[in-house]
Each structure stands twice: as C-alpha cells, then as structure tokens.
C-alpha cells in the first residue's frame, strides 16, 4: 500500500496524488506535507543543502515508519518520498501523503510520518553558506520531542 522512494530527482505532488487516488472511491481525506529548502539557517543565507543517506537502511526505516502509521491509523494509502544529493533554496526535500476515509486520521498520520522521518530515518543535511563554508545540520531537541509525542 505504501509508496516509498529515495531519489535525487524532484517529485510532483500532483503526480503522486493521482497515483495514490487512481480508481479509488473509498478515500475521503488526503493530507500531505512537503518540506522545502529555506534560504537561510539560523539567520545566515545558504546557497545549497546536501542530503546524504544510508542506502538500504533508509528504505528499511521508511518502510517500518509507514507500517507503524498503518498500524495506528486506518490508512488507505501512504506515500513517502525523500530526495538526496545537492538541493537549493526553494527545492523540494520530502513528500508525505496519507489517505484515509476521514480527515483527522489523514492529518494525524501525516504529522506522525514527518515527525518520525525526521528522527528515525538515516538522512543527514549539510548546509553551504554564501561564503563557501559548510556545516552539518545538528539534530534538534524539539524534533525529538515532536517524535516522542507519538511514543
């Protein structure tokens, strides 16, 4: 039921939405989240963001996260797509779609999926600043707290 992909290419939310809904008439609500590259980090302008991942484990972790969401909510479809490689401000990073019969489950599942993706899937971000210096993004305590809400 879940579509799970790690890719360098961009994604199209319209195309993924169409794939998930094709031929379905049992879905009543579809929630999504897209994360995009912001043009600054902690007040410093950035020119690029490079995403590294752990091939194999990443897909396994995303599959486990999707399965956990399906265990918690009555989901009719899940799409998780995460980009890797070098991205620029305004670029898409991650797409989460969750489809359900009713809206609250779709919204809750989407929040859960992005919170767990951020803390339990092996991706790492490096920011490149205007002066050419680079810095690995540090994990945020509030991301851990957001993920722990679902414990």
């Amino acid at each position: 039921m879940a579509t799970i992909r790690v890719q360098t290419a961009d994604f199209s939310i319209g195309a993924e939405y169409a794939v998930l809904l094709a031929g379905r008439t049992d879905i009543g609500g579809l929630a999504s989240f897209i994360g995009t590259v912001r043009d600054s980090a902690k007040g410093r302008p950035i020119t690029a963001m490079t995403l590294e991942h752990y091939p194999g484990m990443t897909e396994a972790a995303m599959t486990r996260i999707a399965a956990e969401a399906a265990r918690r909510w009555d989901l009719l479809g899940i799409t998780l797509i995460h980009r890797v490689g070098t991205l620029h401000p305004g670029d898409n990073i991650v797409l989460v779609l969750a489809a359900c019969a009713h809206r609250q489950a779709a919204l809750d599942a989407t929040g859960f999926l992005i919170d767990w993706l951020k803390t339990k899937a092996p991706f790492w971000k490096k920011e490149t600043f205007v002066d050419g210096t680079e810095s690995w993004v540090e994990a945020r305590a509030d991301d851990e707290q957001a993920a722990d809400r679902w414990a």
């Binding site: 752990y54 899937a121 092996p122 991706f123």
Partner: protein, 89 residues
C-alpha cells in the same frame, strides 16, 4: 575459537569526513564483543578515527541496518554503521 570476525564498517556525514573513508572491512579483535567495545577500540586505529569518536555522545550506531545500542553484540559478517543523529525531513 580465535577465528577472525570480519565485519564491514560504514561511516556517514561528519563521521565519514573525520575518519576519511566511507567504509572499511576489518577483523574484530577478540576483546571486541559489543558496540561499546568497538567504540573503545576504533579510536586507536588512526588520528581520523580518534577525531570521529572523540565525542561519542553524538555518535549513533546501526548493526545490519537496524539501530543498535552499546550492548548490541557483534558477529562475523555484520554491517556496522556509525553516524550522527539524523537530520532528514
């Protein structure tokens, strides 16, 4: 019983940059039974390893692509990865 246990080590993000390689194949010494043992032994291998594992509070480990804890036991053929806390999404 003293047969060498060959394992594959993987490093990601700033651990990879500090160690200087993305992966290496090693034979674990008899003294290394767990992830915690490996975290004691690895820094002795090179200045790069020492730098990477200087602050193990921010080092995470996966064994065979599943998150591991310090007391996770290691076996021949394991794929052991070290990386910082994840920051995707």
């Amino acid at each position: 019983m003293s047969a060498a246990r060959s394992v594959k080590l993987l490093y990601f993000a700033w651990l990879r940059e500090r160690v200087g390689v993305a992966e290496e194949d090693l034979a674990l010494p008899a003294t290394v039974a767990t992830v915690a043992d490996l975290l004691v032994w690895l820094p002795q291998r090179s200045p790069g390893h020492a730098a990477a594992f200087a602050t193990t509070a921010t080092v995470r480990c996966a064994v065979n692509q599943d998150f591991a804890t310090p007391d996770t036991a290691l076996s021949a053929g394991d794929e052991i990865a070290f990386f910082p806390p994840v920051t995707g999404g």
